[in-house]
Amino acid sequence: MTQAQLAQGNNPLLAVRDVSVVFGGIIALNGVSFDMRSGNILGLIGPNGAGKTTLFNCLSRLYQPSSGDILMEGKSILSRPPHRIAEIGIGRTFQNVALFPNLSVIDNVRVGAHARTSSDIVSDSLKLAWVRRGEADMNKKVHEILAYLDLESVAHTVVSGLPFGTQKRVELGRALAADPKILLLDEPAGGLNHEEVYVLGDLIRKIRDERKITVLLVEHHMGLVMSIADHVVALNFGRKLAEGTPAQVQADPDVIKAYLGSKDQ
């Protein structure tokens, strides 16, 4: 771990370089650049339509930028299809929770480990010894994650019946099962009440501290972002408005005008 950090030196874990996205004639993102440092929580904020989700979808490879590049540990991720993002250590959650509703909590988390395991349909059908060993190792990890997120008592419950807050934890668990280096969280506070948002904030910080995972937090909830982010990037109309510590960004006149100002109206 320290070796890797040394080798990495001053290089960012993830670098967004001059990324633009154009849909038809509409410029959704216009030359956005920022770096993510290992071990940081980076908050990406901006009013509706600012381009947060577009950028998020570029990172998770659902959209292809018209120009610019995205580098993970110095290597471009733009030639990778969406299903080959998890294997290089990019995990994500979804805006309104996108679990597998008919699967149990534990199976949802097991699917999360897909990118970190291997098998083929013949070996799986015959339950060969190496498949059984792999499943046992994976189950150990999955149970550790369930215990970590306090989900063990609902492990075998089908997720669709669980409360929203619990489903969000399951989604976090599913993402953690892939051993991500970076966790992309798309509006994790959406649909949660005041108290739950702060519980979630503590959990995100705990995951960063204890599991050494870098977090990109795309969020509307200013309170959450300002309380847990180390670094904040503010977008508006597809451009980067400001970047810095939460305090710096909060004090930036452009941000106040574009985001906080318009929010108060």
């Binding site: 995990g91 792999g134 409360p163």
Partner: protein, 338 residues
């Protein structure tokens, strides 16, 4: 809300859905197996033949269940895969003189390849559109089998007659009984392998795709690969069933594998319970025996009677045999408590 969460965390007793709803319990499985082994010893040859067909259609329904219940893809084209399997076995036995048992894995592999390839264009379709594309395959197949170009092998409209195998090693049993036990052994092997598959990493990938493709892909599941694999596996098992069917009825002909067969298999899957593998044999029993029951009720209106029976099943138990099994399980649990 966190209080509500704690209620759920501390009271998993409210759990509405059983943990392992995919298979039967250990005891029930043994009871079903014992019945399948013992019954043929006490019944007439015709009933043994019908039980063989029950297993064969059960396999074909199971195959569709893996595709639809597992990976969420619809198919009304299973009769095409069944036909390819049946013709593969028949041609290999009659033209190449191959042993019947050896023809089955070949039929399975050829159908796997056929299904896998068909799965490629099907990737662009979903839901009803996929159902229609597979429907087209089912309608085309009987005519393709009649083509003069293939007539030398397929026997054209006439079809092919297949010799029924004798029991090996001088076992003291008739051809029907031997074929039944042979089919039973193949069916058990395929059932166990299917359960293993659906409970494995690959099976979870299938179900993840069924539930949410984008999320599955974000978890590293190659959606296109697993969707086509599901088609391949389903077609492969259907092909083995088709091969067994050809041996059991000793005859293959194009008109035996029309869209009606595909719809029957679909019906069997729904009646058995989509996604519940043991239901496959119940669904198979429905499509084999209920038409006979309908005919015994009214000869002239057997189709209408069948329709009414089907309506009743759909209204009373929309989740099929699976629902009946769950209710029975709860009743037994209640009785045990009292």
């Amino acid at each position: 809300m966190s209080a509500a969460e704690e209620v759920v965390t501390e009271a998993p007793a409210v759990e509405a859905v059983p943990k392992r709803a995919m298979t039967l319990g250990y005891g029930t499985s043994l009871a079903v197996l014992a019945a399948l082994i013992l019954i043929p010893l006490f019944v007439k040859n015709f009933i043994i033949f019908q039980m063989t067909m029950l297993l064969i259609y059960g396999l074909a329904v199971l195959a569709l269940n893996i595709l639809t219940g597992g990976s969420g893809q619809f198919s009304l084209g299973q009769s095409a895969f069944y036909a390819v399997g049946a013709y593969t076995s028949a041609i290999l036995m009659e033209h190449a003189g191959m042993n019947y048992a050896l023809t089955l894995p070949i039929a399975g592999l050829i159908c796997f390849g056929f299904g896998f390839l068909f799965g490629q264009p099907a990737l662009r379709l979903s839901g009803v559109y996929l159902a229609l594309a597979t429907f087209a395959l089912a309608t085309a197949m009987p005519q393709l089998l009649k083509l003069g170009y293939f007539e030398h092998w397929t026997g054209g409209v006439q079809g092919l007659v297949v010799t029924k195998p004798d029991a090996p090693f001088g076992l003291p049993m008739g051809q029907d009984m031997w074929l039944y036990y042979f089919t039973l052994a193949v069916s058990i092997a395929i059932y166990v392998a299917s359960v293993n598959l659906l409970r494995s990493r690959s099976g979870r990938a299938f179900m993840a795709i069924r539930d949410n493709e984008i999320a599955a892909s974000a978890m590293g599941v190659d959606v296109a690969l697993y969707k086509t694999l599901a088609f391949g596996v389903s077609a492969g098992i259907t092909g083995v069933a088709g091969g067994l069917g050809a041996i059991a009825v000793q005859f293959v002909a194009p008109d035996g594998y029309t869209i009606t067969l595909a719809i029957s298999l679909f019906l069997g899957m729904v009646v058995g319970g989509v996604g519940w593998l043991p239901g496959s044999i119940v669904g198979s029993a429905f499509i084999i025996f209920v038409p006979n029951i309908a005919e015994s009720i009214s000869k002239g209106l057997s189709g209408a009677v069948f329709g009414v029976l089907l309506f009743l099943v759909i209204f009373l138990v929309p989740h099929g045999a699976r629902q009946v099994a769950i209710v029975a399980q709860q009743l037994i649990a209640k009785l045990k408590k009292n």
